[in-house]
C-alpha cells in the first residue's frame, strides 16, 4: 500500500555571517506543511534562495530539520538515525539532482550505476541483475539497453545522463521521488522528454513526485498541485491550473508576470519592485513579501499571515487576498479576477 508522504511544520534554519554572540539565522524553511499523494506530481516553485531545494533535501534526508516532521508510512522519519531505518527510508524516497554531469561517476559504466542500488538494497538476486537493468533502461527510454548499459557517462548526452539518473532512482522501486530542477541543465529540445517521462512514471508506477523548479510553465505542464515558496514559507498552494491562472498571492502574480510571454510583446505591465529576498534572514513578524508588495496594508508589517484556504484546497498566506476568517470583515478584500 502506498500512502505518499506528509511533511508537517518542517523548519530549517542555517546560521549565516560571523556574529560573536549570536549569529543571524536564515530561515530556509519555516513551518512548511504539505502532502505528496501517490500518482501525483507536486511542483514546488520559487526563486533561488526561496528554500525550495532545502525542502527537497530535508525530505530526501540529506539534511536534518531544525524542527518539524516528515511522516512516511505513519511514522515520523525526520530524525530517524538507525542505519536500518535510513536504508529502508532511502529505498522508498529517492532524489534526482539538477546536474546529470556531476551526479554520475565518470569512471563507472551505466551498468555499475544501476547495479549498485539493486545489490545494496538486495532487491534482486545476483543472477537477475542484468534483466533488471534492461528493464530499467527501457522504462526510461534508453534503448537498446544492452548497448547503453556498457557506456560511460561521458559517452552519453545530457538528456541521456539524466535518464540514467532517473533509472537509478527507480532501481529501488521508490514510492516517492524528489526531482530538484531535473531539466534546467538540459537543452530545450530534450526537456520535454524528461517531463513526459515523469508524467508516464507517475501514472505507471503510481509515484508521488515532488518537482522542485523555478519554471512555472513546466510546473503547469506536469504538476497536479503547486506550492509557491517565498523566503522560506509556502505563500500559496493549490491545484496547478488554479494557482497559475487565478493566483491569490501577489508574489505568484509577480512570478507569472515575469515569465517571457510571446503574446504580450509590448509590456510596460511589469513594474520594478523594490526589496530583496534577504527577507528570510532573522525575519521580523509580518509578511515577508511586504516590501515588494503593491497591495500591502498596515497589518502586513507586524502580523505574520497564516496560510488560509480561500477556495477548496486553494490557500494563500496574505492578509488581503486570503484573510483569516476572524479578520475577514476588517480588511478590504480585493475582488478576485
Amino acid at each position: 500500500m502506498t500512502t505518499g508522504l506528509e511533511v508537517r511544520d518542517l523548519t530549517k534554519h542555517f546560521p549565516v555571517g560571523n556574529g560573536v554572540v549570536r549569529r543571524a539565522q536564515v530561515h530556509a524553511a519555516d513551518d512548511v506543511s504539505f502532502t505528496l499523494r501517490p500518482g501525483t506530481i507536486t511542483a514546488l516553485v520559487g526563486e533561488s534562495g526561496s528554500g525550495k531545494s532545502t525542502v527537497g533535501h530535508l525530505i530526501a534526508r540529506l539534511q536534518d530539520p531544525t524542527s518539524g516532521q516528515v511522516i512516511f508510512e505513519g511514522r515520523d522519519v525526520a530524525t530517524k538515525r538507525s542505519r536500518a531505518d535510513i536504508m529502508r527510508y532511502r529505498s522508498q524516497v529517492q532524489m534526482i539532482f539538477q546536474d546529470p554531469f556531476s551526479s554520475l561517476n565518470p569512471v563507472k559504466t551505466v551498468r555499475h550505476h544501476l547495479a549498485r542500488p539493486l545489490l545494496l538494497h538486495k532487491l534482486v538476486p545476483r543472477g537477475g541483475i542484468d534483466t533488471a537493468i534492461r528493464e530499467l533502461l527501457t522504462t526510461v527510454g534508453l534503448v537498446p539497453p544492452d548497448q547503453i548499459a556498457a557506456k560511460y557517462p561521458h559517452e552519453l548526452s545530457g538528456g541521456q545522463r539524466q535518464r540514467v539518473a532517473i533509472a537509478r532512482a527507480l532501481a529501488v522501486a521508490p514510492t516517492v521521488v524528489v526531482a530538484d530542477e531535473p531539466t534546467s541543465m538540459l537543452d530545450v529540445s530534450i526537456r520535454i522528454g524528461i517531463l513526459n517521462l515523469m508524467l508516464d512514471l507517475k501514472q505507471e508506477r503510481n509515484l508521488a513526485f515532488l518537482y522542485v523548479t523555478h519554471d512555472l510553465a513546466s510546473a503547469r505542464y506536469v504538476a497536479d498541485d503547486v506550492l509557491v515558496m517565498y523566503a522560506g514559507q509556502i505563500v500559496e498552494r493549490g491545484p496547478a491550473e488554479r494557482v497559475l491562472s487565478e493566483p491569490l498571492h501577489p508574489y505568484t502574480e509577480l512570478l507569472l508576470s515575469a515569465v517571457p510571454d510571446p503574446d504580450h510583446t509590448d509590456t510596460g505591465v511589469f513594474e520594478h519592485r523594490k526589496g530583496r529576498s534577504s527577507a528570510a534572514i532573522d525575519p521580523a513578524p509580518g509578511c515577508r513579501f511586504r516590501d515588494r508588495c503593491e497591495i500591502a496594508v498596515e497589518r502586513c508589517s507586524h502580523e505574520t499571515p497564516a496560510l488560509v484556504e480561500v477556495r477548496a484546497t486553494h490557500a494563500a498566506r496574505c492578509h488581503v487576498r486570503a484573510p483569516s476568517p476572524a479578520l475577514r470583515e476588517e480588511v478590504h478584500v480585493e475582488p478576485l479576477r
Partner: protein, 339 residues
C-alpha cells in the same frame, strides 16, 4: 578602422543602415567546423535574436564578431564587415579600438567578469581610459550616470563586486558595455543565470535604453519565448548553420523549418490548454561528424524514404538559405519542394 581589404563586390547591397554584415563565416576548432557558412546582417538600431541549443555555434558567432576567438578556434572562411569595412583581418591594435567603442559584449556569466578586488567605479575608469582620453573624475561621473540608468544607486561605485547581488553585477556589466556608446551590443545569454523576476527587470531596462539610445543588439539565447518578446528579427541556428531567419512575429506564427517548429513545441505554454508536447527526438549531432545533407535530417519527422526524391536531397545535399516568403529565409529542402 585601418585600411580595408576590398571584399568581393557581390550583390548584397550594403545600405547605409547596415551595421554588421557577416558573409559565409566559418569558424573551426581544429577539424571541427563549429560555425559553417553563416550569413548575418544587423541593421543600425535593430534587435536581432540568435537562438539555438548549446553547441550550435551561437556563442562562437558572437566571439567571431568581436574577434576574441581563442586558439585553436579561428576564422577559417568568410568576411565580417562593420559599416561596409572588412574587419576580418584587421590588426590587433585596430581591433582593440573597435571593441567596446563600436561593438561591446556582455557574456553569459558576466557577473563573474568583474575584478573582485577592485571597486566598481575604478573598473569603469580603467575601461574608459583604455579607450579615450578622459579624466578620472569625468569617467567616474559618467559611470555614476550609467549605473543610475540601469537602476543602481551611483554610490555603488565605491562598492566591491562581492557587495552586490548577481543581478546587480550583471547590470554593472551592462552599464560598462554601454559606457562608450557602441553602435552594437552583443548579449550572450545575459540573464540565463538569473531569476525570472530579475531577468525581466534587466531586459526591460535594456529595451528602454535601446529605444532611447538607438544602439543595435545581437541577443543570443536558447529561450525562444524570450526573443518573441524582445527581438525584432530572429535567426535560428542549428549545428553551426543558420536554418531560418524572419521577423519575430512572422517566425512565431509561421515557422517554416521543422527544427524551429520543434523548438516551438518544446516550450509548454503558460496559458490555454495543456496538451502533451513532443519536443524534438534525438540529440544535436557531433560537429566533428555532421550528418550528410541537411544536418537536421536524423531528427526530422519530415525526412523519410517514403518520398525517395526528397529523401535523397535531404540526406545528400546541403540545403541553402533561400527566401521562402518576403523577408523570411529558410534552409530546408522540404520547404523548397513546397512541403
Amino acid at each position: 578602422m585601418i585600411a580595408t581589404v576590398p571584399g568581393p563586390t557581390d550583390e548584397a547591397s550594403v545600405t547605409p543602415e547596415t551595421l554588421i554584415e557577416v558573409k559565409n563565416l566559418a569558424v573551426t576548432y581544429g577539424e571541427v567546423r563549429a560555425v559553417d557558412g553563416v550569413d548575418l546582417t544587423i541593421g543600425a538600431g535593430e534587435v536581432l535574436g540568435l537562438a539555438g541549443e548549446s553547441g550550435c555555434g551561437k556563442t562562437t558567432v558572437a566571439n567571431a564578431l568581436m574577434q576574441i576567438l581563442k586558439p585553436p578556434a579561428r576564422i577559417a572562411d568568410g568576411t565580417i564587415r562593420f559599416r561596409g569595412e572588412d574587419i576580418t583581418h584587421d590588426s590587433e591594435e585596430a581591433l582593440r579600438r573597435f571593441r567596446w567603442r563600436n561593438v561591446s559584449i556582455v557574456f553569459q556569466s558576466a557577473m563573474n567578469a568583474l575584478n573582485p578586488v577592485m571597486k566598481v567605479g575604478n573598473q569603469f575608469v580603467d575601461m574608459m581610459r583604455a579607450h579615450e582620453r578622459i579624466s578620472k573624475r569625468n569617467a567616474l561621473k559618467s559611470a555614476g550616470e550609467l549605473l543610475e540608468i540601469v537602476g543602481i544607486d551611483e554610490r555603488r561605485l565605491s562598492s566591491y563586486p562581492h557587495e552586490l547581488s548577481g543581478g546587480m553585477r550583471q547590470r554593472v556589466i551592462i552599464a560598462m558595455a554601454l559606457a562608450l556608446q557602441p553602435e552594437l551590443v552583443i548579449m550572450d545569454e545575459p540573464t540565463t543565470a538569473l531569476d525570472v523576476v530579475v531577468q525581466r527587470e534587466i531586459l526591460q531596462q535594456v529595451r528602454d535604453l535601446q529605444r532611447e539610445r538607438g544602439f543595435a543588439v545581437l541577443f543570443i539565447t536558447h529561450d525562444l519565448s524570450l526573443l518573441f518578446e524582445f527581438a525584432s528579427r530572429i535567426a535560428i541556428m542549428y549545428a553551426g548553420e543558420i536554418v531560418e531567419e524572419a521577423p519575430a512575429r512572422e517566425l512565431q506564427v509561421r515557422a517554416l523549418h521543422p527544427y524551429t517548429e520543434g523548438l516551438l513545441r518544446s516550450f509548454p505554454p503558460l496559458r490555454g490548454p495543456v496538451a502533451r508536447m513532443t519536443g524534438i527526438p534525438g540529440t544535436p549531432p557531433d560537429l566533428a561528424h555532421p550528418p550528410k545533407g541537411c544536418r537536421f535530417n536524423p531528427r526530422c519527422s519530415y525526412c523519410s524514404p517514403d518520398r525517395p526524391e526528397l529523401y535523397a536531397l535531404q540526406t545528400e545535399v546541403r540545403p541553402l538559405l533561400h527566401e521562402a516568403a518576403p523577408d523570411h529565409r529558410v534552409a530546408c529542402h522540404l520547404v523548397e519542394a513546397g512541403r
